[in-house]
Symmetry: C2
Subunit: 365 residues, 2 copies
Amino acid sequence: MQNDDELNLSDRKKQILLSAVEEYIQVASPITSSVIQQKIVKDLSTATLRNELNALEAMGYLKQLHTSSGRVPTSKGYRFYVNQMMGDIPLDKNVLEEIHALFNKRTVYLGDMVNEIASVISKATNYPTVVMLKGFDKLIIKNIKIIPLLTEQALILIETNSGIINNTMEANKSIPQQSYIDASNLLTSTFKDKTVAEMLKDMPSHKQKMENEVKEFSTIFDTVLFSLKSLTERLSQNGNITAKGEIKLLSIPEYENNPEQAKKVISVLSNPDEIKEVFKDSTADNGGDVSFKIGKEIPVEDLQGCSIAKADYQVDGESIASIGIIGPQRMDYAKIASALKFVVGEFQNLKELPPANKKEANKDE
Amino acid sequence: MQNDDELNLSDRKKQILLSAVEEYIQVASPITSSVIQQKIVKDLSTATLRNELNALEAMGYLKQLHTSSGRVPTSKGYRFYVNQMMGDIPLDKNVLEEIHALFNKRTVYLGDMVNEIASVISKATNYPTVVMLKGFDKLIIKNIKIIPLLTEQALILIETNSGIINNTMEANKSIPQQSYIDASNLLTSTFKDKTVAEMLKDMPSHKQKMENEVKEFSTIFDTVLFSLKSLTERLSQNGNITAKGEIKLLSIPEYENNPEQAKKVISVLSNPDEIKEVFKDSTADNGGDVSFKIGKEIPVEDLQGCSIAKADYQVDGESIASIGIIGPQRMDYAKIASALKFVVGEFQNLKELPPANKKEANKDE
DNA sequence: GTTAGCAGTCCATGAATGAGAGTGCTAACA
DNA sequence: TGTTAGCACTCTCATTCATGGACTGCTAAC
């Protein structure tokens, strides 16, 4: 149906509509016929433009806030703009470098990275940003270490193809260090190149065999399993979800004098379950990696004045992490799309790069 | 001078003043003579109370927003209230348990803990909360481990008397694992029971001796030192400062219809340098562990309508971490004081408890 | 020292007004 | 048929003004 409409649009109407949306995104105040004449279609009179605008309104791409106001895009208008918009806006070079540096610190804990990515993107786009580690248990195990601590606890450290996962577990002081080393090696050799999820699933069936190989493995086994289960539950169920930059909403014209509305949005952002609801299953438009939900397309009442953008980092068709941005419908779609694409690209590099980073080391000499 | 005034206050004036402040903290609207009569001093007429209020205003404890409004406390009025206020309000039991549980996970990384503490306190008090890890390098080293990873990096893990510090470092693959183990042991035996700061200071002078004991120590030494230096710089200079719950300001009457003001406060909170400025050197009032700066006592213009509370976690007279709460002058001082005291108490336990925690383990059976 | 009573002050609310900005429509023009 | 000038109309926004209500300050009496 969208195609039908688009076919009906004359080139002139398309031009007017697209530039009107673009202009509105920049200036945030309703677009009038005279603005269009001054900035865009200089060789037509305002009266003619009014006729065109009237037609576009009748088709549902634009609307007036009141009889004598200029026009603002409808959800349909934004959607048309997003579908047509091809050119990405290159990001600021400093921002690109900051993101790149972030991904270059490959040993970083996944939890930290989620925080940092959200911060950086929020800073780059000036919108609240959400990062969700969802299918992190689909990451591929490369190495497992159990490190006993001075307290009656130990650290489980799992190196994956995409960062480090860690958690603590109970550790009985009476078990000799060597048993932990043996257990680590056994776990590594058994589950290397499997996913965390597979490891959790398969561990019980390996129990008997493993117990024969490592002394005291039975005790270690139970605590490892318990610790990993609680970790994956914590991360997967409630999701490891971070929102950053909620406060930026307050500086956006739409919310500046409307703290009520801002509070509604922020309260959605402070509830992981709602975030999940908002960002679940969206399909990428435009053939790209970035999908948008615009206005009424969002399945949550309080957010229907907003738009959201989302990009997924996928491994073997499985989404490991999602990055979402939320803002007013009048958001800078082009800029956001290019920011998200860049970050997803960095994720991809992370996965594909050989595990060892050379250089960078001797820069302190 | 405060004492002079306090001596001049009749018991009745004291009672009126204290209850007026308390009432205002609860209801957030100016206190009138009739409110006082209805709720507090039932056996006096409003006219008499007006005389008393007038006197209190002349002494600078109360002020009117305009001629015919009720009265609100001045900074001096709040200060009097805080100095007199002895009774702490017990916190909600669930909150106590949540904080306690947080401290019980003793292996938690300090960085995470800062985040979590800020979140919990902000939730408990309903005010924005700041946690600053300042003199973390004064923590006492108990154990050092260097753990080589699959990438050309290694993890430095330092167990202290109060949590774990970790950072990554470059690691040369050509160095055998055993060298890292030896280096770890050497570092531990050399610096055990010293502070991180002392370790950094003394390392260079130990270099020669250490190089003799462990093969390839020279290379390891440099990267360890470099890594720790950059970690302490990151944590100490800019401070490891987290603010949480800034958004709660929007639900406080003082800011509800005044997003401008809220934005000013929030912008201070998003700047670590300003946070440090705001929370530096305050001395605890009231003989307790919690200090308040009230209104004009705050050395930052944009915050003079606010009050801040601060508590320090000290080790040997050295402040390791500070926890700060910011809110309107009309904040719930009693509740905040007891929240902060509780958290500092938990910090103290952390330090004093024997290193091994028993039990808690078998609750999954 | 306490109180009743009254005048005075200030805020908050809502109505009335006018200027300004844009549009829709009609009629004329190319 | 598409374009344009011109005018009437609509709606917002800011300002002004009047009214009611909530308190206080003060005075005079107890």
